[in-house]
């Protein structure tokens, strides 16, 4: 018997439409663009701050424009999604064994969510929100 195997090609750009799971993965990857863009914004803010009070005032005013608020809101949503998907994955990525048993996955994820909440409160406290 001769072998003549058939190779079925994977579509190099549209593969992520083949399964909802791949789409979910891609949507998470896309959140990184927003997070990256927000980091750039922070760097620009620092640079403006270094350039003097007038430059800083201008930056703060620009931040308050409707387009900027929409952008920041989108970044916030993306950051939430990015963080939540990672926290849910920590169940598998960071298994914790105590004695013979593994700590249940939702405890591990839960601890991450709790730490997130606490740190957020701390940050908000230092920025003077309360």
């Amino acid at each position: 018997m001769s072998r003549n195997p058939l190779i079925r090609e994977v579509p190099p750009t549209s593969w992520y439409f083949r399964h909802p799971l791949y789409l979910r993965y891609m949507s998470r990857e896309i959140t990184s663009i927003f997070i990256g863009a927000y980091c750039v914004l922070l760097v620009v803010g620092l640079q403006r701050l270094a350039a003097g009070p007038a430059a800083w005032e201008g930056f703060v005013t620009a931040l308050q424009s409707p387009a900027s608020i929409v952008f920041q809101f989108l970044c916030l949503v993306a950051a939430f999604y990015h963080a939540a998907t990672w926290f849910n994955a920590t169940q598998k990525a960071m298994p914790l064994q105590i004695g013979e048993d593994f700590v249940p996955g939702n405890v591990i994820s839960g601890a991450h969510y709790a730490a997130w909440a606490v740190l957020s409160v701390v940050v908000l406290f230092f920025t003077g929100v309360f």
């Binding site: 003549n4 058939l6 992520y16 298994p95």
Partner: protein, 227 residues
């Protein structure tokens, strides 16, 4: 016995005559509680003896009956007909060359499994007279969940990274390497790292997580990758 009329659309490829694969439609009467593999067996027995596919245990143990069922990698002996409506599309596992009909060539997978040295490499050799290598239940639990692989290759079919970058060592091989690295009797981590911690190894994993979804009942490949 409750019956169910099942329509299957099966990918056919004959290496001796075909240059392309094509779908063939079969209609078979099945029992309500049958799995996809039962339907294929019925087709082979009653309608078309030329249909080729692999199976052995019919109980999700041997890992030979993996195929794409409506686009998802599944063990056909573990996939119930009653969970599907309409035509069920059955294809060979993607990302592997098709040998004939639903039979794929596992050569690449086998070669990759071998490369991670999936056996205990003792820290130091000791003569048999010194007795066995002992292990506590806690030490066993540390790797047990990674030792359940049945080599069904579903995770390779699920992994888009493997599909796009065939040199990627892949989920099951990484899991297997991790299984031995975590074993208290083993001292081979460094040797395995040469394969695992390279570009073709764990860093090629982009964390899609599809391997774990495909493999819920067996080991959880994603865990070792992400560590």
């Amino acid at each position: 016995m409750k019956e169910r009329l099942v329509q299957l659309e099966v990918l056919r490829y004959n290496p001796d005559t075909d240059t392309e694969a094509r779908f063939q439609r079969y209609e078979v009467t099945c029992a309500e509680e049958w799995v996809v593999l039962d339907a294929l067996n019925k087709v082979k027995a009653d309608i078309d003896p030329t249909l080729n596919y692999r199976w052995s245990c019919h109980m999700a143990v041997c890992g030979s009956c993996g195929m794409m069922i409506n686009g998802e990698p599944k063990l056909s002996c573990h996939t119930f007909l009653r969970d599907y409506e309409g035509v069920i599309r059955v294809e060979p596992l993607v990302h592997f060359p098709v040998e004939r009909d639903l039979v794929t060539a596992p050569d690449d997978f086998m070669e990759k499994l071998k490369r991670v040295k999936p056996y205990i490499i003792p820290k130091e050799k000791k003569p048999i007279s010194e007795g066995e290598y002992k292990q506590t239940p806690a030490q066993l639990m540390k790797f047990r969940q990674y030792s359940m692989c049945i080599n069904c290759m579903l995770c390779y079919a699920a992994c888009p990274e493997y599909g796009l970058t065939p040199h990627f060592i892949g989920p099951a091989a990484l899991t297997l390497a991790h299984r031995y690295n975590q074993d208290s009797r083993d001292g081979g981590r460094k040797e395995r790292q040469e394969v695992v911690a390279t570009h073709e190894g764990v860093w090629e994993c982009t964390f899609v997580g599809a391997c774990s979804e495909s493999a819920r009942r067996t080991s959880t490949p994603r865990a070792p990758c992400s560590r």
